[in-house]
């Protein structure tokens, strides 16, 4: 099956839902006109990134009128939105929401909230507690948000859960100037892991980063789609707005997995057994989440 996937590399307005909804509407229209079937927006692109104390002001419950508006827009083209989700018990999550044919089909709450150096996410957001692939009308997909992908366990789980493509909304800040390197060092690292992940897990990596500046921090753009062989199908401009699209054929996943059936050979029990052992190792400083992952 071949589908046309677009990425809207946008520059949202910080803390202004209405302005950003207008950007969504415009880009969704553009994707539909371009005959795209699936559109990826960057992390927190409905709200802006450095929200700090505006988090509760821009948070949306999944029955909010703005969400209804997004559902309606998804009749034109399926898309992934990046927004602040408020749960019934008033936790705020940095979420990616997959809209398809007028409905919400999947919500991923960012698990790894960077809280070091320039980042402060855990101060404002609650942490997601699950990583799941899900079935879309195009095939099985997974959503992972930015820092999630810097933890190899997330894509490992997504791939073993059957994802053929991983969509990654990102708000990745440019930082680190290196001589003889045409982009900043963060861009270099992302491109390295996108390619490595695509090849290692035989999946399509659909990476949508934002652009623009917030309080002097620039976002480097450079959104891309990488196929399971590590070939880059399309690349957006660095540091500037862009809109890109590529034909993605899931047959490539089949071909790649036929040639190198690494996922087939993956020994899940070995991994689980060793993880159980490591989990109990005294003094290992293991971060333990909640044991919730039973239902659904």
């Amino acid at each position: 099956m071949s589908i046309r996937i677009s990425i809207a590399q946008v520059n949202p307005r910080l803390g202004d839902l209405q302005a950003n909804l207008a950007i969504y509407e415009e880009r969704i229209g553009q994707a539909a006109a371009d005959k795209a079937q699936l559109l990826l927006f960057p992390e927190l692109s409905l709200t802006g990134y450095m929200l700090r104390d505006t988090v509760p002001a821009v948070a949306l419950k999944l029955d909010a009128p703005e969400i209804k508006q997004l559902m309606a827009l998804s009749r034109q083209v399926a898309f992934v939105a990046g927004l602040v989700e408020e749960s019934a018990d008033h936790k705020f999550f940095n979420s990616a929401v997959y809209f398809e044919d007028g409905e919400i089909r999947h919500v991923h709450r960012k698990v790894y909230l960077p809280t070091y150096g320039m980042f402060d996410e855990q101060r404002y957001f609650a942490r997601g507690d699950r990583v799941r692939a899900f079935d879309s009308k195009f095939g099985r997909l997974a959503l992972l948000i930015c820092e999630d992908l810097w933890h190899p366990s997330t894509i490992y789980l997504a791939a073993l859960d059957g994802a053929l493509a991983v969509l990654c909304p990102s708000a990745s800040p440019l930082r680190g100037i290196v001589d003889q390197q045409s982009q900043d060092d963060n861009a270099r690292y992302w491109e390295l892991i996108n390619r490595a992940n695509a090849e290692t897990y035989s999946v399509f990596m659909i990476y949508g980063n934002r652009c623009g500046f917030e309080d002097g921090v620039g976002f480097w753009g450079g959104s891309e789609i990488v196929d399971p062989f590590g070939a880059r199908l399309v690349k957006a401009r660095y540091y500037d707005e862009d809109f890109i699209a590529a034909e993605v054929s899931f047959e490539a996943v089949r071909r790649k997995r036929t040639m190198s059936p690494l996922l087939r050979d993956e020994d899940l029990d070995l991994t689980i057994n060793e993880l159980m052992r490591i989990r109990e190792r005294p003094g290992a400083g293991i971060v333990r989440g909640r044991k919730t992952a039973k239902k659904k």
């Binding site: 520059n11 307005r13 910080l14 803390g15 202004d16 450095m50 929200l51 700090r52 104390d53 505006t54 440019l174 100037i177 290196v178 001589d179 003889q180 390197q181 045409s182 982009q183 900043d184 623009g212 500046f213 917030e214 309080d215 002097g216 620039g218 660095y238 540091y239 500037d240």
Partner: protein, 273 residues
Amino acid sequence: MTQIPTNAALLRQILVAFIRNEVRKTGLARVVVGLSGGVDSALSAMLAAEALGRENVLAVLMPYKSSNPDSQAHAELVVQKSGIESMVVSITPQVDGYFERYPDADARRRGNKMARERMTILYDQSMRWNALVLGTSNKTELLLGYGTLHGDMASAINPLGDLYKTQVWALSEAIGVPEVIVKKEPSADLWSGQTDEGELGFTYREVDKLLYLMVDQRYTKAELSAAGFPESFIDNIAARIMNSQFKRRLPVIAKVSQRTIDRDFRYSRDWGK
């Protein structure tokens, strides 16, 4: 990663995008910049011209009667080369008018006063011209506290604040700041014969190497020693950074409420933009 990178092409691309984005999101299109004749303000002004168009950059030349005449001549070179708007406002009457009452004021007081008079002129012109004040302080002087609080350190946006002086020189050369400005000895020109490096007691290139390892690469004191820096130099610079921290922060506010500005009332500067 022990050498300061000077990737001029990338820095230029980022800083031009920074100025364009951060100015336009405020709803404005223009900047004013105090042009001293030195390399920092020349670089800021030329980056702004590239980002916003030369007609949207106003250089204000603000000589004092004892300023080195080369300073204004060099500032005029930048104006000519970049084609930006310019005006000259002498600060002599307002500085002298004040110090007539305090004739025994020393050079440091006079220097600080000059820097702050220039700031008031820039902010007034920025309002007249519907523009933002563009900063010119580099990372070296910000870390060392080698600037006047509410004077030359004041601005709305600053493209150079994360660039060491070494990087300012390299980028200036690459984007065509007149050579005489890049090559000359840095001076605040607050009094005759003043040079930055004379006053500081070390060269920018020396201190930049240390600052880069200490701040950017987080070398410990032992690692800095092992890298060949004298202990007294390390201690001197570490103390300078610590003792000038106040210049890099808002004034200290006494907390009495549940929500205090900048402590638990936290919003980005670009809030709503």
